[in-house]
Structures are given as C-alpha cells and as structure tokens.
C-alpha cells in the first residue's frame, strides 16, 4: 500500500533531497564588479529594459548590472546600514534626501514620476468615484505614512466632500506598500484601490478611474551612492535621455519634469 510506505520512503529520500535543495540554492550569486542598482519595487518592469538599452547604447563600456527591487524604505535602510549599492532609485524623495544628508550619496535627480489613480477591475460596474461611493465598495489604500497613502489623503481632500466621506467609510485596509494595495485588487478582495498609474499599466485586467489633475505626481529620485563604480554616472545621465523617458512613459510613468534637484 502506498500510504504504508510513506514513512520509510520519506526517511530514505530525506537526506538526498535536502542535499539537493541546499546545493541548488548555494549557487548563482552576483558578481562583485556589477553596478548595483537598488530601485523602488514599481521599477521592476521598466528598469531591466532600460539597462538593456544602456548596454546597447554603450558597447564601449565594459559593465554589467545587478538590479535589486524592494520598498524604498527598506532599500534606504539597507544602504544606510551599509548594504552595497551604486545607485538608489527611490519612490520616496524623503528617503533619498535622508541618505544625502547622512553623507552616503549625492546628485539627487528626478528621473520620472507617477500619477495616482483609483484602480478597479476591468469587468467591474464602477465607472466613477461617485459610483463607488454609492455602492458600498471595499477600498484599499496605502498607509498615510507611505507616499501612495499620503497622495491618497491629498486626492480625497480635492474631490467632492460627500463622495470622499463615503469612500473613506469603505476603506478596509491601510497597507504598508503600494504593492500590497495592488494585491487587494489582484486577489479580488477589494473593489477599488488607490495605486499608481504605472501599476495599472503593467497589471492585467485593471482599469483606472481618473482623479483630479490637481493631485501632485509622486517623483522618483535617483541618488548616486558615494562609492559608485565607474559607469554609474553615465547610467544616471542616460535615465534622462528622451529614449529612456519614452520607455518610462510607455510603462505608465510620467516624464521627469525637474531633472537635477537643488540640494
């Protein structure tokens, strides 16, 4: 009987299986000479394409890249605590400026920006903010302590007060990152979520309800880490070229408006 063999079988297979798993995970770590870019999670889809373009445009440069994605706060903390990185692209300007204040990096550059939208599922019956307000919809927002949540607070202050009140009453969660907010829609646990336009652009089956144009965009700030390897500065400059800005736009971001920030 199959079941009766389970015990003996699993014991015999346990050691080789364990060894195989450990061996498989031990290999495949990065190269020390790679230019390491720590970037906000929302860059996950567009940044690899930009790196590809950069390598194509600079065949003379003998460089390779290692990309690391995470929440801007997590990355900023890691870098401040000594994790190696050459370029930090933050979705949170405050985090970027803090690193510069601490003397870890310089040359803060706005490389792109993102617009806040209210996303719903494509097949849903919601077509406007008041639809959602009247329909007892479950709304997911970011925590007011993160940029997407802060922008949501601003956006709600700029729309009709009654609608805003009813939307707020439907808030079921204040999530710690925009990725988690977005997952509420992907898992169909919420009816609407305040996320970035670029999130809707890369997620299948979502539709964006527009918010007032007076809601400010969220800027992405790149910081050159002091010990940056050769080639990093060229890459930072490359981010502002028209072709990269077109890539950003195609991925749902906005063109950078400000360029280099005053320190």
């Amino acid at each position: 009987m199959l079941l009766a063999r389970w015990g003996r079988l699993s014991r015999a297979a346990a050691l080789p299986a364990l060894a195989a798993v450990l061996l498989a995970t031990a290999s495949g770590c990065g190269d020390d000479d790679d230019i390491e870019i720590a970037a906000a999670s929302s860059m996950r889809h567009v940044l690899p394409r930009i790196v590809e373009e950069f390598l194509r445009a600079h065949p003379d440069l003998d460089v390779s890249f290692e990309l690391r994605f995470n929440g801007s706060q997590v990355l900023a903390t890691q870098i401040a605590e000594g994790a190696s990185a050459d370029l930090f692209i933050s979705a949170n300007a405050v985090q970027a400026e803090r690193l510069i204040d601490e003397g870890t990096g310089s040359l803060p550059t706005v490389v792109t920006a993102n617009r806040l939208v209210l996303a719903v599922r494509e097949e849903s019956r919601w077509y406007s903010l008041s639809d959602l307000a009247e329909g007892d919809a479950r709304i997911a927002v970011g925590s007011p302590s993160v940029p997407v949540g802060r922008l949501t607070v601003i956006a709600l202050s700029l729309i009709d007060r009654q609608v805003a009140r009813e939307l707020l009453a439907g808030v079921v969660t204040e999530d710690p990152s925009v990725r988690v907010v977005l997952s509420r829609l992907e898992l169909d646990e919420a009816d609407a979520a305040f996320v970035y336009h670029s999130d809707v652009a890369v997620t299948h089956g979502l539709r964006a309800l527009p918010l007032p144009p007076t809601v400010p965009p969220n800027e992405y700030v790149a910081v050159l880490i002091d010990s940056a390897k050769p080639g990093t500065e060229e890459f930072l400059a490359f981010l502002l070229t028209p072709e990269v800005q077109d890539l950003f736009r195609a991925a749902g971001f906005l063109r950078a408006v400000a360029g280099v920030r005053a320190q």
Binding site: L3, Q73, A80, S145, E174, P176, V180, S183, L187, E189
Partner: protein, 268 residues
C-alpha cells in the same frame, strides 16, 4: 574530574555560549538602538501603541485558546493512532510552518477570502472574513497552531500508552485517566508548545497583512504597526522603539508563563 571530562565540559559550554550570544546580540542591538535613536517613552505614551498592543494580546490569546482546545485532541489522536494515514497527516502538519507567511495569507484568501472557493458559501450565511479581527485570529492560528500540535504530539507519543491501559484495568474512566495519568505526564510538552504557539502568534505579520489587512484598531496588530512605522518618515527609529515595546511586553509575559507552567501547573 578527569582531563577528558573537563575538555568535554568546556566544549559543551563553548557551544552553548556561541548560540546564546548569537541570539542575544541582535536583541541587545535593537534595545540599544531604541534607547539612543528612538523614543520609547513617546511610543508608550501614544494611544495608537496601546491600541495595537491590546489587539495583539486579545488576538494571540484567542489563537492560543483555539489551538489548545482543538489541537490537543488532534495531537492525541495522531499519537495514539498507528494508521499510515495518521503518519502522513503528522508529516504534513509542518507544512504551514514552511510556507512564507505572506504565502500563507494568500493561501487563506484562496479558501476563505471573498473570491476564495468558500467565499460564496460564507457570503451566503452573511460571513465576510477577510479584513476583520476574526481574520487576524485565523491567520495566527494557521501559522502557529502547528507549533502547539507538534509539541503536544511529541508529548503524547513519548508517553508509554500502557500506563493508560493499566489505569483502565484499575477501573478509571477515560476522562479520569486522561486527567490523572496522561495529562500530568504530557503537561511539560503541552505547556512548552503553548508558549511557542503564543509567541509565534504574537509575532505574526505576513499572513495577517494579506488576509486581514492593516487597519488601526481593527486589524493592525503590533507587528503591523511596527511595519507601518518602518515605512513611515519616522523610519527605523520609530520601528525599533515600537519593537522594544513589543519585546519588553513579550518578555514579561513569557517569564510569567514559564513560571506559571513550571511551578503553579496543576501537577507539580
């Protein structure tokens, strides 16, 4: 003492010290960081902290109650059953521990969420689980109950079942046998498992975030409040301050629990 036993003893102490230091140093680090960088006093004075702490205590205690109430029979039956099916179930019991907590949260949603395969049935009887305080308890139960069941199972399995047989032949009822023979013998295992289970529930983050969301006063437990603080402008300083509050609180409770189960247990 012979030279050999001295060497053996030194090795023993050295090994123990290495692990003890490894476990202690990060805790010392975070406490030090909170005292120098953070502001524990402010966090202790904020109602938001107490709200999160209260929610954590209530939910983790409910979780422990459910785990003990439902887990003890399960562990007992598994340990006493010689069937191959019981052995399969026992080895599968650890699976929730292997799942990354975030995945555990998604798994809970696929079953009990609004779009989960039981979602419509639950909706039919007017139950929405996700984003409620009940969801916090369920998320904690999913990841922490195996700790209790595993420990209780080890207790029941290591006990000589013939002792129960002797009690029966002496005319004791099943319940009386369990109470006066079985329970005293497995008590340390149950108590140890309960502490593990409660501690894991108190620290639960990923599954809770996905399954229950993070709303202050309703579903935002201490670990979620720490995460929110970490992502905020207060950043690391705020997060470590809150962490030290949670650690201090857990320390007091753990010491109390250990004393309670070691000395004031019903069978010592």
């Amino acid at each position: 003492m012979t030279v050999r036993s001295t060497v053996a003893r030194t090795g023993l102490v050295a090994a123990a010290a290495v692990l003890l230091l490894f476990l202690a140093l990060p805790l010392i680090g975070i406490a030090w960081r909170a005292l120098t960088d953070g502001d524990v006093a402010t966090e202790l004075g904020s109602t938001a902290t107490w709200e999160a702490l209260r929610l954590s205590v209530v939910t983790s205690t409910l979780t422990l109650g459910l785990a003990v109430l439902l887990g003890t029979p399960l562990a007992y039956l598994l340990a006493r059953s010689g069937s191959p099916a019981a052995r399969v179930v026992t080895s599968l019991l650890d699976l929730p521990l292997v799942l990354p907590p975030t995945v555990a949260g998604i798994a809970l949603l696929t079953a009990f969420g609004r779009a989960g395969y039981l979602g419509d049935a639950l909706d039919g009887i007017g139950l929405t689980v996700s984003f409620t305080t009940a969801a916090v308890v369920l998320a904690q139960l999913f990841v922490s109950a195996p700790f209790f069941v595993r420990a209780a199972y080890a207790g029941f399995a290591s006990m000589d079942p013939h002792l129960e047989g002797v009690a029966y032949t002496l005319g004791l009822s099943r319940w009386r046998t369990f109470r006066s023979v079985t329970l005293p013998l497995v008590w340390p295992a149950l108590a140890g498992g309960a502490v593990l289970c409660w501690a894991r529930a108190l620290g639960e983050l990923g599954a809770t975030l996905l399954f229950a969301g993070s709303l202050p006063g309703k579903t935002q437990t201490m670990p979620l409040a720490i995460l929110a603080a970490f992502e905020s402008e207060a950043g690391l300083a705020g997060a470590v301050s809150l962490s030290v509050v949670l650690l201090g609180f857990a320390f007091v409770l753990l010491v109390a629990l250990h004393r309670l189960t070691a000395t004031a247990g019903p069978y010592r």
